[in-house]
Symmetry: C2
Subunit: 488 residues, 2 copies
């Protein structure tokens, strides 16, 4: 089901039956400031619940809101009904259930953006019977009322936190139901087989096979392919959501900090400076072609620690390299010998055999042709090296391109249209599903009994259903037999 | 004219003729983020201008906005028309000219509260032909199109900045036109007389008197009364807007910092700690009964400065007392002699003869009945003293009551319903008007020529007109609206 942010789809039969066990009668009306706090032109206070309109009306003068249709805007004055004091001049946006974000009656009061006014307005609404909403409670209601499934609801939070083009696209795709759709089709097919297997159990004495084993095997292979594809996408999803940690390593005076500054200057607007916890530890982020790189400057790594504080710094830097997705090894073309670079690289490779390495020679502008060609010969055994000048800002575009190529080569990039798993909970559920699907697959191959097959299939379906929140294990059978309606 | 925040009044004849000299044809469409930046549930991007709907439509799918009436809400998808990428799922609030805040077509796009998304949406809207709004430009358009007068427009900024109940009420009263109404009636009557005086000038040769001198004198007296009343309210307005600076002075160990902390704990939620520029200088704010008090702790005032830094601190503290509206002199009931207190008081009174003083004895819980009664005898010649215990939090409510009484006694408080001038620009204009009105008044008494009377009356009318913006210059408008936040 594709229901957008302020879901416009009417509740469907299947939604309701799917969720009947956990439906909560939400009789209270919740309220919260929905825009960021602080001074601004506008602040929006949002109410949702059966009394949203009545509670607003208690403060609102100039119009009878109860008589107004949904999806309309009403200018008026908010007055504290107890003190009679005017609180603000506002516009009330009216949404009627079920055509609202939560599928309840919703009022969004748009007033002047002042924390003081917001406090006064919230206070007056609470005294009229509204309850302060808990974190995420509007979206929770949207889920409970069937406007969003669980994965879509989770995408709302991701979308708000998104700060690069790719993380934004992935969250939006998930919110728009892309992820859920992919699972739902496969799950619907699996459910049919599960129901047939359960039917066999009912007729167990008679040794019938309602479920076509060949068809089931084919379907299982297909589902396993999708599930393991989604699981593989999780590594990428994590990178998109959290950024690609790229350690810049190298000997002192290789120009690491200059390079860091040069890279950051490219898109200063979205740089966020995070001061390190130790003096030798600088971390900064920059978005390249929609992918967020988190660069770690490891100045001092190869220094002999002068004191205990510095030793701790070096130790932490080494830990950071352990967590990195990419190593950018920077060396000074004018002072280093190819053999020294090879020795450094060998050391890193021994310590972190799986870490992709980008080899970058700095101070190209000052290097002699002999120095440059000496390093060219390294290319045979090593990753191709890139000559740049961080100080002169030469070769930086090529370096960014090389970073993207490395990431794409490691499978850590995408066109942005594929479905990508970014949520740990989803990844865990997919893992569980994959295990049980493999067990079913193996059971079919070894001719295991229907009962065991059915149990594993139930577990797999439960795990997949947990992702969208459609189903918990308990109502699986109810759901299946209601659909099949064999009068049992 | 009473037009509220999102003015719904149709443009009137008199508005247009008043402003015809400076009307600007606003053909471009402006856009800005109108909610505070940062992560939140909602962010609102606002467009105003003739192309507001068309520009939104270029990104908006699911509905033809051009065909929709004003004051309606429309759910849809925003897509970058160039890249085709989905930007967000949003609700567009549609306002049709002249029924909008600016009296132009206005669209408020309510999307997910993420800075990243807002940047993408703003970027796409700008590429479709919108222009980024300058600070205060929406409100400036509301003024230029006659939805708000200048004093009301200025109240919008005050309202957003208001952080106490009284400053909020004063700004709201001004926004709702209370201040402007008061001026407008008087100005209209003065204009009649001015017109009659001008008429006399046209018939100068014939020595006629169209304007009734007695009636003019009566009206002038009335207007002068209102203007000087408004001017008197400015001192109060300033206090309401900026807080009442209350210096806590006293000898070392009198318990000044304990008292400061005890007072702040009363409403910790709205306390804002401003660390002083010198180590001996602490300043904090607390709202008592809607009035904001800014307490200044002057620890170290009577110490002999140990070094140059401390001497500067003491000097600054003395300056701060010079700027204070109220002095709270705190002494230790258990160690001070009444004569010492009197000597200290005399010193303060000599230096600041006009400063109201509140006399407070601390450590009441540890004082003997003899000590307490010794101070009671001071009451005859001095301000009544109050016994408290800051450490035990005894007598604090009485102290707050006494602070309010002092402020009210000094004419620095109000019921909140009267019209109060809070704006320096308005006070200056009122002063100018008062001077010229006095000159007219004097001219009438001494039988000065009509020409001189008419000139002074024109100046007075000009000054009054500047307040509401009936008479304004581009420079004035620029200086007012650049103080606004962007998006308002």
């Amino acid at each position: 089901m594709r229901c957008g942010w302020r879901g416009r789809c009417p509740p469907t039969k299947s939604d309701q039956s799917d969720k009947s066990d956990k439906s909560v009668v939400l009789t209270d009306t919740i309220v919260a400031l929905s825009t960021p706090p602080g001074a601004g032109a506008l602040a929006v206070v949002r109410l949702s619940g059966p009394e949203a309109v009545a509670i607003t009306q208690a403060l609102f003068s100039k119009k009878n809101l109860a008589a107004q249709p949904g999806h309309t805007l009403h200018y008026g004055t908010l007055r504290d009904p107890e003190s009679g004091l005017v609180l603000d001049e506002v516009v009330a946006a009216l949404y009627r259930a079920p055509r609202s974000y939560t599928r309840e009656d919703v009022v969004e009061i748009s007033g002047h953006g002042s924390d003081f006014i917001v406090r006064q307005v919230l206070g007056a609404l609470l005294r009229q019977g509204a309850r302060l909403a808990e974190a995420g409670e509007f979206t929770k209601r949207a889920f409970l009322n069937g406007a969003l499934d669980l994965a879509q609801a989770e995408a709302v939070a991701d979308l708000i936190a998104a700060d690069s083009a790719l993380s934004h696209q992935v969250a939006l795709n998930q919110l728009r139901g892309g992820f859920s759709d992919e699972l739902r089709d496969l799950r619907a097919q699996l459910i049919k087989f599960a129901a047939l297997l359960e039917l066999e159990l009912d007729f167990g004495e008679e040794d019938v096979e309602f479920a076509d084993r060949t068809g089931l095997t084919r379907l299982l292979t297909e589902v396993q392919g999708v599930v393991s594809g989604l699981l593989r996408s999780f590594e990428l999803g994590n990178v998109i959501k959290n950024g690609i940690t790229t350690v810049i390593a190298g000997r002192p005076n290789a120009g690491k900090s200059t390079l860091l500054n040069a890279l950051l200057r490219e898109e200063r607007a979205i740089v966020s400076a995070i001061p390190g916890t130790t003096r030798d530890f600088i971390e900064d982020e920059v978005s390249i072609d929609g992918l967020r790189f988190r660069f770690v400057d490891t100045a001092g790594l190869r220094d002999n620690p002068a004191d205990e504080v510095e030793a701790i710094g070096v130790q932490r830097t080494r830990q950071r390299i352990g967590q990195a997705a990419l190593l950018l090894y920077l060396f000074d073309l004018t002072t280093m010998m190819p053999a020294e670079v090879q020795a450094d690289l060998a050391e890193f490779t021994a310590a972190h055999p799986k870490l992709p390495v980008l080899l970058v020679g700095n101070k190209q502008d000052a290097a002699t042709p002999e120095q440059l060609s000496a390093f060219m010969q390294l290319n045979a055994q090593n990753p191709a090296f890139l000559a740049i000048s961080a100080g002169q800002r030469l070769g930086l575009e090529e370096l960014q391109e090389a970073l993207l190529t490395q990431v794409r080569g490691a499978g850590l990039a995408t066109s942005g249209t594929a479905t990508i798993v970014t949520n740990v909970r989803h990844a865990r559920a997919l893992e569980t599903a994959a295990e049980h699907l493999a067990a079913v697959q193996q059971g079919l191959a070894t001719g295991r009994g229907t009962e065991l097959l059915a149990a594993d299939l139930r577990h797999a379906l439960g795990a997949l259903g947990e992702i969208t929140g459609d189903i918990s294990t308990d109502d699986l059978l109810t759901s299946i037999f209601t659909q099949f309606c064999i009068g049992k």
